[in-house]
Symmetry: none
Subunit: 195 residues, 4 copies
DNA sequence: AATGAATGAGGTTTCATTCAT
DNA sequence: TATGAATGAAACCTCATTCAT
C-alpha cells in the first residue's frame, strides 16, 4: 500500500527536490511550503533537510542554477574572427535577460522580490552586474564605450534592466520597453558625448 | 503594578504607534512583531488592531508618511524668476534621494525589499518614478532633455537611483556613487546624443 | 457633525437596546456583538453596560420578555361559563407554542440552543414546564387527565413540544408535526388506560 | 528540562488527545481550551492540529465515540428464541440512556447543550432518535405499539428522555423520574388507546 | 447618564525545523 | 539515507468588558 522508501543517488534526489520546487514556484511565488515540495518530489519531509539545511538554501540553490542557465543561454562573446561588437552584444544580452526573466514566472518574485532576496543578496561575482561590468570594461578597452565607472554603472544599468523586465511583467508593451532600454544602454555608454 | 490606562486622541495614539514601529524598524528591518510595537508604544495588543487592520497596513501607513516627508524635503521646483534648470534639479533630487534613503536605515529594507513590497506595490501616482517622469517631461518641453520615453525611462532611472543608494548602504564610496549616478542621469537625458 | 449625546429616560434607553438586540438576533443567532447592538440602537458601547452588567444579562432580559409575551398571547383559561376543556386547551397551547417558537427566528437558537441557555437555565417557575404542570394538575383535579406525576410529565412533554417545533424549523411538515404532538399529548394524559 | 519527544503511532496519539479532552470536559464543560488538552495529553499545541483541524472536530470525534460506546452498552435486541418484548426493551434502553447520560458528567453539557451542539447537529442516522424510531417501527410491526408516526414520535420521546436525564442531573429523584418516563413511554405507544 | 478609546485574555492556525525510529 | 510524527514560536485576530473623560 505504502510506497517503499525510494533510495536514490543523492545527486538525483537533490535534483528531484529542486525540480519539484521550481515547478511549484513557477506557478505561485508565494505560499509554497516544504511540505508541498516533498509531496511533489515524492519524498518525506525530513529528507528535504538532508539536502538543504534551510528553505532559503533551497532558494539559493535554485537561484544559482538559474544564473548558470542564463550564462549558458547567453554566453560571453569570444573574438573568433574579428573584434566583438560590444554595443550589439549588450543589446542582445539585454533582450535575452528580459526574455529569461519573463520565462521565470513565479520564480522571479520568489527569488528576487522577497524576504529571501534581502536575506541572501546575490554574491557580487555572480549575477548580472558582474557580467555587465566585465562587458563594459571590455568595451571601454576596445574604445567603444565611454570611460564611466564600470562597476557602479553596471550595477545601475542592471537594476534598470531588471526594472524593465518588471514593467513588461506588469503589462507594459514589450517592444516599447525593449526600445527604451536599448536607448538607455546606448546613451549610458556611448563615447560620443562630452564627459 | 499595571500601568494606568492612557486615553489619547485617536490621531495621537495612531501617531505613537507609527513612531514606535518606525523606531523599531530602523533598528532591524526583520522580526519586528505587533507585540513589539505595542510594547514600545506603551499600548495593548488590541489597540494596535483598532488603528491598523493588519501589519501590512501599518507598513503602508509608514511608507505613505515617508513619501510625504521626502516630498516636503525635496519639493518640486517652481518657476519663480526665470526657467527651471532641470538638469540641476535632477541632480539635486538624486542626491536628496540617496541621502534620504540612507537615513531610513532598516526601514528601507522593511518597506522596499520585503514581501510587503511585493504584496503592496507602491501606487503608480506616488513614489519616485511618477515624479521623475513629470520632471523628464517638463525638461523635454523646455528642450533640455532628449525625447526619450518619459515614463519608462523614469522608471528605469529610478531603479538606478535606488540601486545607487543600496550600493552606498553596502559600503560603496558615497561620492563615487553620486558621481556615477549623476553621469548616468546626464547621459540618459542629454539631448547632445543622436538617437 | 457628531450626533449629540442623546439623553433618554433610562427605561426608554433600555427598551431601545433590547429592541435593537432582538432585531439583530432574529436575523442571525450567532455573531451578534455588543458593538452591533449599540450601533443599531444609536448608543455608545459603554452605555450598554449601564443597563446590562453582561451580555448574558441582555439575553436573559430578552428571554424574560418573550416569556411574558407568550403568556399574554396564550393566557391561562378561566372558568367563565362552565368548566374548562383541558384537553382542548392543551392542544391550543401546543399549537400556539409552535407558532410562537417559529416566529422567533434566530432568537430561538440564541436563547435556547446556546451556551447562554446552559449557563442561565430557565428558572423553574417561569417558562413552559411550570405552566404545563399547572394545567395538568388542574385537568387531573377535573378528572380529565390521568394521575401521572404532573411536574415531571410536564417537563418531559414540554421538551417534546420544543423538539416538535425544532422539527418544523428543520423542515418537517407542520401539520404532521402538530398532529403527532397532539396525539402524544393526548395519549400521555388521557385517563382511558390502565395505569 | 524539556520532556523528550514522544513519538507515537498516530492512532495512539489521537486516542491520547481524545482521552485527555474527555477527562477535562467531564470535570468542567466550559472553558477547556486546546492548550489545556495538549498539556493534559503531554503533547505540543501544533500536535493537536495534526489530528483535529478545529476544536469542534475534537468534540465531534468525542461525540461519535460516545455514541459508539452507548451502542455497545445497549445493543439492539435480536430475536433469539421467540419474539422480542419491545415494551420491555424500550424501558431497558430508557434506563440505560439515563444512566449513561449521567455518567457523562460535564461531557454532556459540552456536547449536547452548547454552541457546538447547534453548529454541528447530530447526523440523523446517528443518535437516539433514529434508533428509537427503528424500535417503534419494529414494535408496530409486531403489533405491540400503536400506529403513531414513528419518526416524529421517536424524536419527541427522545427529547423527553433527554429531559428526564437532565432532571435527574439537576437533583430530581432518579427512581421517580424513571417511573414517570416509563409511564410516558408506555402511554405514548400502547395500542390500548383509541386514536 | 453617556461616551468611546483601551484593554488583554482567548482562540485559531501555520509551518519551518527537529528528531526518534 | 529515509521517514513522518512532533514541536513550538509566531502571527493573526476578536470582542466582552473596563474606565478615564
Amino acid at each position: 500500500m505504502r510506497e517503499p522508501r525510494r533510495r536514490l543517488d543523492p545527486a538525483d534526489r537533490r535534483r528531484e527536490l529542486l525540480q519539484a520546487a521550481e515547478r511549484l514556484l513557477r506557478r505561485r511565488a508565494d505560499g509554497v511550503r516544504v511540505e508541498d515540495v516533498v509531496a511533489e518530489a515524492g519524498a518525506a519531509k525530513g529528507t528535504f533537510y538532508l539536502y538543504f539545511p534551510t528553505w532559503d538554501d533551497l532558494l539559493e540553490a535554485l537561484r544559482d542554477e538559474l544564473f548558470a542557465r542564463f550564462e549558458a543561454l547567453a554566453p560571453e562573446p569570444v573574438e573568433l574572427d574579428g573584434p566583438v561588437d560590444w554595443p550589439a552584444t549588450l543589446r542582445r544580452i539585454a533582450a535575452a535577460y528580459i526574455r529569461f526573466n519573463l520565462e521565470m514566472e513565479g520564480l522571479h518574485d520568489a527569488l528576487f522580490h522577497s524576504d529571501f532576496a534581502r536575506n541572501r543578496p546575490v554574491p557580487v561575482h555572480r549575477g548580472g552586474p558582474a557580467r555587465l561590468a566585465a562587458m563594459i570594461s571590455a568595451g571601454q578597452e576596445a574604445g567603444v564605450f565611454a570611460p564611466v565607472p564600470a562597476g557602479l554603472t553596471a550595477r545601475m544599468l542592471f537594476a534598470a534592466m531588471h526594472e524593465a523586465a518588471d514593467a513588461v511583467r506588469e503589462g507594459a508593451d514589450r517592444l516599447a520597453v525593449t526600445l527604451a532600454l536599448d536607448a538607455l544602454l546606448h546613451r549610458a555608454l556611448t563615447p560620443e558625448i562630452d564627459p
